[in-house]
Amino acid sequence: MTQIFAYIPHQGGVAADIALEYPAAAAKIDASSTLTAVVTGSGPDLDKVANGLTSIYKEVIKIDNAALAYPNAEVVRKALVNVLDASAIVFAPNDTFGMDLCPGLSIKMDSAYVADAVDFEGMEGSLLKVVRQELGGAVSTHVTCDTAAGAVITLRPGAFIPVEAGAAGGTIVDKSADAGDLAAKRRFLEIVEAEVGDVDITKSDVLVSVGRGIEEEENIEIAQELAEAMKAVVSCSRPIVDAKWLEKSRQVGTSGQTVKPKVYMAMGISGSFQHMGGIKGNPFIVAVNKNPKAPIFQVADVGIVQDILEFMPELTEKVKSM
């Protein structure tokens, strides 16, 4: 029987969606595993989250401390190390918080660490077989993780099938008294909200989205012309913003905007999971990429293997002539 603790991030009294995905992930490791939710925070919001989780988890560990009011990874790590059994498996999401928390947590718990698991293929003895992706999703790998002395594993949000919240009738176990000294060398100051850009890409039904395949800043104009012809708006993937060719408010992805268009034209975009994580509502995805092995072709509805710099102007001409 495998003991698994699932760390559950929350905001405004609401648990993150991944709370519903952990049970499926745990079942794939070991059908008889014991899964315990763990929440940290402070005050009424934390109680609300913990109560809500009892409809999914049989046991919910709650750690309440004013120092945990904001999820500072250093403070959360200290609390978890003091409360959790180090020989167990600990789940967390592979998001900006999980990436901040988990590598260090694995060292302090003297556990193995696997980041960004997208699937599990069961246990053989203490060896857990995990599926991951490397090289921006271009290749997948099987890795084995020796869980004999515990493991910290981050899961890719959205990779496991969510369960329906039911009436698990779980109990809340208050471990606040065990959290220990939570003094930190890193102190949270504030959240700076994203700036609003000149165009709101979240409002457009059709997006012409460009990635690395655009090659040069001047070529953005080619996408702009196609977008105008289609009465669409130009959005982009992260490298275009990093190169400062378009402003941050045009970026689609987990670190950018979440969009829900009807049609998404992915032009020269490889399709990393961080990018696809920003596209909701199941739009019709057209992918044009000169690399036939680009991961985007596994999620697109229509794929075209062409150089976007030649393809887009021809498409623009045709649309204009209609």
Binding site: A73, E74, T96, M99, D100, C102, P103, G104, L105, I107, A112, Y113, V114, A115, R132, E134, L135, G136, A138, V139, S140, T141, V143, D146, A149, K185, R186, F188, L189, I191, V192, A194, M230, A243, K248, Q251, S255, G256, Q257, K262, V263, M265, F284, I285, V286, P295, Q298, V299, A300, D301, V302, G303, I304, E310, F311, E314, L315, K318, V319, M322
Partner: protein, 262 residues
């Protein structure tokens, strides 16, 4: 400010089409193009800019084989002052914890105020910075997209969080930060710069030089091991449009019309 930046030589995702070997269990490595991990260039640029502002020096370090020396030279051509290659057959097959242990031993040989890594590299784990910080008992922040050098005792850093927002923190020095792309614009490295550092001697430190605990490095001590590579199988995939460009465009336009795209 004395800054150490950990860098890595990786297969270039922009330049390669990744194929499996004939056995189907590894990448076909014969024609792979390698380069400096993209995130690391931002980390080195940030280090150089900090030193330009407040003084100090930038050292780049990597764990790798002889070929990894080229990435150290490239980062030195950018403006890093020193390079160190950590190389030993005993390092081969180390997992993240093993690599972090090797780096920890090098960090402890110097006196650094700031240790930077790229936010992630080819394996996509983003693990080395956080592990290294925990091993050294130093504070850590990941996905850093802003650094304001403070009074020499602390730095103010912005972290990238979901939705384009930024989380500001104050962190005591020394600390470890993993650097996100977009924090700056890494400078162009010309052939002249490369030539300038071509003959600079780069020290190589072995496991014995570093005094690394032999029980945490190498394949035998790795708790996490890659078994194989395979081609992702994510559902049906796209309907691929083929034919002449004109035929493709005609077919695409029909589809776009039916889906509300035109």
């Amino acid at each position: 400010m004395e800054i150490l930046v950990c860098v890595k030589r990786v297969p270039d995702t922009a330049e390669n089409e990744f194929e499996l070997n004939s056995a189907g269990n590894d990448l076909d490595r014969d024609d792979l193009v390698f380069s400096v991990n993209e995130w690391d260039n931002y980390a080195v640029e940030e280090a150089i800019q900090i030193v330009d502002n407040v003084g100090g020096s930038v050292t780049v370090v990597t764990v790798g084989d002889d070929e990894s020396e080229e990435v150290l030279r490239r980062e030195m051509a950018m403006g890093a002052n020193n390079g160190v290659l950590l190389s030993d057959d005993a390092f081969e097959g180390s997992d993240g914890k093993g690599i972090a242990s090797i780096l920890k031993a090098e960090v402890e040989k110097g006196k650094y105020d700031l240790i930077l890594t790229g936010a992630q590299a080819d394996e996509g784990a983003g693990q080395i910075g956080g592990m290294l910080a925990a091993m050294l008992d130093l504070p850590y922040a990941s996905l850093v997209n802003k650094i304001e050098a403070g009074d020499g005792k602390t730095v103010k850093v912005g972290r990238e969080i979901e939705g384009g927002n930024q989380e500001m923190n104050e962190i005591d020095l020394p600390c470890v930060l993993s650097i996100q792309t977009g924090i700056n614009e890494p400078r162009y490295v010309g052939i002249r710069g490369i030539r300038k550092v071509a003959s600079v001697e780069i020290p190589v430190h072995s496991a014995a030089d570093l005094g690394v605990d032999a029980n945490v490095i190498g394949k035998d001590n790795a708790k996490v091991k890659r078994v194989d590579y395979f081609v992702p199988d994510l559902g049906e995939g796209a309907e691929m449009l083929e034919g002449s460009t004109e035929e493709i465009i005609d077919a695409l336009i029909e589809k776009l019309k039916s889906k509300g795209g035109l």
